[in-house]
């Protein structure tokens, strides 16, 4: 088995006194694809945001490759370079074209060589089918194209861990597929990913492990077949029932 890459231990997150995450612990091994599911407001997105310290936490710890990721700490920039994140809202910088969006952080944060990063960016754009849109501005792209660019932008930082926060939730159905295909491709390359999604079929296809969160706690942590066929908890059964439709006659 591969070594543990990310270690989340007893994570507690509170907003104004209400507890959103209540003692979350799990490990992610290198190359694993974790899908986090749960009903709206259960704290899935907050969990991702705590992993790269966009939110301060009130208890517990997050460690990546043995080093702590702490909100406001000195080495946070170094840790965040290793964690790529794609958000639900289209988060490209609207005043820059696609290639500048991708190159900004590798050039300014990592101080890498421009022609080298550019070549890599073009290669990645080609892989997601957008090599001809390098000079386009975000407003000229569809939602699915924007999300693919956001994924390339995250990849260009050479992250060891990728976080996807409901990246298809704001997309029209026909654009969901093109983004999910890119993510399946990444999983096939052996990337370590944590994915929050509402696409259950996709979750089952891509996950090595499913975490089901309810009321700020991990209720199930298991392989996808077990989760979708034989969930142990009643809460998970209820949750999965939402996705079954029966025609009433």
């Amino acid at each position: 088995m591969a070594e543990v890459l990310l270690k989340v231990k007893d994570l507690v997150k509170q907003f104004d006194g209400s507890t959103v995450l209540d003692g979350i612990s799990f490990d992610v091994r290198r190359g694993e694809v974790i899908v986090v599911v749960g009903s709206s407001g259960c704290g899935k997105s907050t969990l991702l945001r705590c992993i790269n310290a966009l939110e301060p936490i009130q208890g517990g710890s997050v460690e990546l490759g043995g080093e702590p990721v702490v909100h406001g700490s000195k080495n946070l920039a170094k840790m965040r370079q290793q964690i790529g994140m794609v958000f639900q809202s289209y988060d490209l910088f609207p005043h820059m074209n696609v290639i500048d969006n991708i190159l900004l952080a590798p050039l300014k944060v990592q101080k890498r060589n421009k022609s080298e990063v550019r070549a890599e960016a073009m290669e990645l754009l080609k892989r997601v089918g957008l090599e001809d849109r390098a000079e386009s501005y975000p407003r000229q792209l569809s939602g699915g194209q924007k999300q693919r660019v956001a994924i390339v932008r995250a990849l260009c930082m050479h992250p060891v861990l990728l976080l996807f926060d409901e990246v298809t939730a704001a997309l029209d159905p026909e654009m969901v597929r093109e983004v999910l295909d890119v993510m399946l491709d990444l999983a096939g390359q052996g990337r370590t990913m944590i994915i929050v999604t509402h696409e259950m079929q996709f979750a089952r296809a891509i996950a090595d492990r499913v975490l089901f969160i309810d009321n700020g706690k991990i209720v199930e942590d298991t392989d996808p077949d077990t989760f979708f066929e034989n969930p142990k908890s009643d809460r998970a059964k209820q949750f999965l029932n939402i996705f079954n439709f029966e025609r009433s006659k």
């Binding site: 966009l54 964690i83 790529g84 958000f87 988060d91 900004l104 952080a105 944060v109 930082m157």
Partner: protein, 224 residues
């Protein structure tokens, strides 16, 4: 058609003198705007801080400058500074100081508004890419703010150009003062010149301000 006294315009170097006066007005506005934009950006950033002290101080500055008539500010800087501080500053410098103080306040408020209108996820995705706070401001927030600001600050230029008509009160010879001088000098030979010359001044202000307004409207449409 009544005699408008327009012939005075073509006497000697009158037309050139008027244009020279116009240039004085435009130059003071441009220098003031060029100083107001960076200072206003700084002020606007400071105004978004949650610190109660900076909040109060910037608020008082903004309200003070806005409430005071520009003419009073000009008098305070030009006349009072000489008596109390012993400064011997030219009218033009006093104008630049007042217009910059005013422009900084107005720009600061515009910048503050533009900054708080930048969506939160722009800051977050910059953080997630490991950009430092100063890099985030420099590469992400300020360029977007400036785009929203350019049309607004161009409007500020036209307001400044119009307000320069006050600076003849502290002895700066700008277009309106030149017009008065020309009218005075020709009072006997062409008593109707007042109408014609002021009409020309009006057209001059319009010819300067109208294209600037059009440019602002164009940029606003283009960058929306």
């Amino acid at each position: 058609m009544p005699d408008l006294g327009l012939d005075v315009l073509f006497k000697g170097k009158n037309m050139l003198r008027l244009l020279g006066g116009l240039w004085v007005a435009v130059r003071i506005s441009l220098i003031s705007v060029a100083l107001s934009i960076p200072l206003g950006i700084l002020l606007g950033i400071v105004m978004t801080f949650k610190n109660p002290i900076t909040k109060t101080v910037t608020r008082i500055y903004l309200e003070f400058i806005r409430i005071m008539p520009q003419l009073v500010l000009l008098f305070i800087v030009f006349f009072s500074s000489t008596r109390t501080l012993g400064w011997d500053i030219s009218g033009e410098l006093a104008s630049v100081i007042v217009f910059t103080a005013w422009g900084t306040a107005e720009m600061g408020d515009l910048v503050r508004g533009a900054l708080i209108s930048i969506p939160k996820h722009q800051y977050e995705s910059a953080s997630a890419l490991a950009l430092s706070p100063s890099q985030t401001y420099f590469y992400i927030i300020i360029p977007q703010t400036v785009r929203r600001l350019i049309p607004l600050s161009i409007n500020l230029v036209t307001r400044m150009i119009k307000t320069t008509s006050l600076i003849l009160m502290i002895g700066v010879v700008e277009v309106l003062k030149v017009a008065q001088q020309i009218i005075e000098a020709n009072r006997m030979s062409s008593p109707n010149a007042a109408f014609g010359i002021y009409l020309v001044v009006l057209i001059m202000y319009f010819m300067i301000c109208w294209p600037i307004s059009m440019l602002a409207r164009y940029l606003e449409k283009k960058w929306r």
